[in-house]
Amino acid sequence: MSITANEVLDAKGLACPMPIVKTKKAITNLEAGQVIEVQATDKGSTADMKAWAESTGNQYLGTIEDGDVLKHYLRKASDIEEKAETKYEDVLNLDELRNKVDGEESISVLDVRESAEYAFGHIPGAVNIPLGELEERFEELNKDEEIHVICRTGSRSDLAAQKLSEKGFKHVKNVVPGMSSWEGQTEGNQ
């Protein structure tokens, strides 16, 4: 599975504290919500990335081991996302979605998070089109199907649902709050 990031930081061969010091610097240049891939060889960097992200409010998405290189994925914190009010009215809560996912009928789930977020855990069968790519890619979706849009906290999916509705999709539901509280099955790199 390919994971795209807005920025790739090479911290290979650097010992602690440099991977974190460099990540901290690089992430200030990103826009809120963007994803950085940090390549490091220091084994201790995984635990530190996780702890550092937690203490700064950024999102630690996960780490992939590629030979000796650890690829850490982090997403810059976004205040707007945490507080945004949702406008799209047709919402579905997680329990209802879970009943549908666990049920017999196949359903369509659209995950509008960044590909790196999706890669480290998504609802089995969910299709990934990041919010930023929806404008160009909405035609990949079937207008006649009922589409369940999900993101991490419900705000990006709210925007996506509005957009799809503007494009003439009639059966769109925004799933709230989102993957941050999803307790059902997931698949992806864990």
Binding site: C16, P17, I20, G44, S55
Partner: protein, 377 residues
């Protein structure tokens, strides 16, 4: 430029109970798992990455002229924090621990336990960073080392300094918490490596059987090392009586706790062996024997000069693991709610069997963290 302190100097302070303040800048999970303890050490934790924008998170907790030893995993982050404290905070007495916790985990502090009756001495090597204890018996120019740790050059230079020849390398059992240096050191100095045969079923190398009846002699028949079969932590676990004075209990009996039977995945099978060893076999021995275990778990177990020991008779009064009358209660105690297993214990066992030979760095990494070989009653 920040001044540094070596693990050796820090170890001296710990065993001498000197007042020492440590600022550990690793992430809090690692700190909670494992930290520098013992003696008169006070340690506070603030991850280095919380100090990148300023030292406020710690400046209130520390006096500017107070001596502070900064510690991290390998020494790089602590160096940075030490510089920040000096440059931004105007701290005047900051030291950086060279090599960090990785080096601390490898330091062995030799402590003399006592003299032997017919000449010679017994030393305990205290691995402060991990709680492992190994022993060196020397007499008449010869030495035996028991439960040798991986850092064999330390024993080698110790022997060289004393002008003694290492003849026997003995492991009381197949270790699961640390990599044995016994086999390597035996190869290097041309000594004999002894291991209990019941723990050696899967090993890939030759060894001498450590069994009751096969006494080992150090230095011209002067010092007797007498194996006593005492299974329970492993099926082969064997204790040693040295010079009729000292009982080396391996991982069966510690000063404040007892061994755990589950590290080879056979807790249920080995519980009754463990109980027999502790409640019958050891009971038949002299109460005046000085118990010298292969581990300690609590900083307060470090006694005078940093040694860890206790009289067997006293342990029958004080060690909670020896006070459990009911067999079923005992079974529960040693099989349920056990502490987490040591880091990489399966790989460590395979390394000690000779099945795998990880590279040096990997071996160091496998050994990080506390030993966790005990059940605390």
């Amino acid at each position: 430029m920040t001044t540094s302190i070596t693990t050796k100097d820090l170890a001296k302070r710990v065993v001498n109970h000197e007042k020492t303040l440590i600022l550990d800048v690793r992430n809090t999970d690692e700190f909670d798992n494992w930290k520098i303890e013992g003696g008169n050490v006070e340690v506070i934790n603030e991850p280095y990455f919380n100090l990148l924008d300023g030292i406020e998170p710690v400046s209130g907790k520390l006096g500017k002229d107070q001596e502070v030893i900064v510690v991290c995993a390998k020494g790089g982050s602590s160096q940075m924090v030490a510089e920040l404290l000096e440059e931004e905070g105007g701290f005047t007495n900051v030291l950086n621990l060279e090599g960090g916790m990785k080096a601390w985990s490898e330091h062995l502090e030799p402590v003399k336990i006592g003299d032997l009756k017919d000449g010679g001495s017994l030393y305990q090597f205290v691995r402060l960073g991990k709680g492992c204890l190994s022993y060196l018996v020397e007499s008449d120019g010869e030495a035996a080392i028991i439960d040798t740790n991986r850092m064999i050059d330390i024993y080698e230079s110790f022997a060289k300094e004393k002008g003694i020849q290492i003849k026997h390398l003995i492991d009381t059992h197949l270790h699961a918490d640390h990599i044995s240096g016994g086999r390597d050191l035996a190869g290097k100095v041309g000594g004999t490596y002894h291991l209990p045969p019941k723990d050696a079923a899967e090993v890939t190398f030759d060894y001498a059987a450590l069994e009751e009846g096969n006494d080992i002699v150090v230095g011209n028949t002067k010092v007797k090392v007498q194996p006593i079969y005492s299974p329970g932590h492993t099926i082969g676990s064997t204790s040693l009586i040295i010079d009729d004075q000292y009982l080396l209990t391996g991982d069966i009996l510690f000063v404040k706790s007892i061994g755990r039977p589950d590290l080879a995945g056979k807790a249920e099978d080995w519980v009754s062996d463990l109980r027999d060893s502790l409640y019958k076999r050891y009971k038949e021995l002299s109460e005046d024997l000085i118990v010298l275990p292969a581990h300690y778990s609590f900083a307060e177990e470090l006694g005078k000069g940093g040694s860890v020991s206790a009289r067997l008779g006293d342990l029958y009064q004080q060690n909670e693991g020896l006070q459990v009358e009911d067999e079923e209660v005992f079974r529960k105690m040693v099989t349920e709610n056990l502490p987490p297993q040591p880091n990489a214990y399966q790989e460590i066992r395979e390394t000690n069997m000779g099945k795998i030979t990880p590279e040096d760095d990997k071996q160091k990494e496998m050994e990080t963290g506390p030993n966790r070989c005990a059940v605390h009653g």
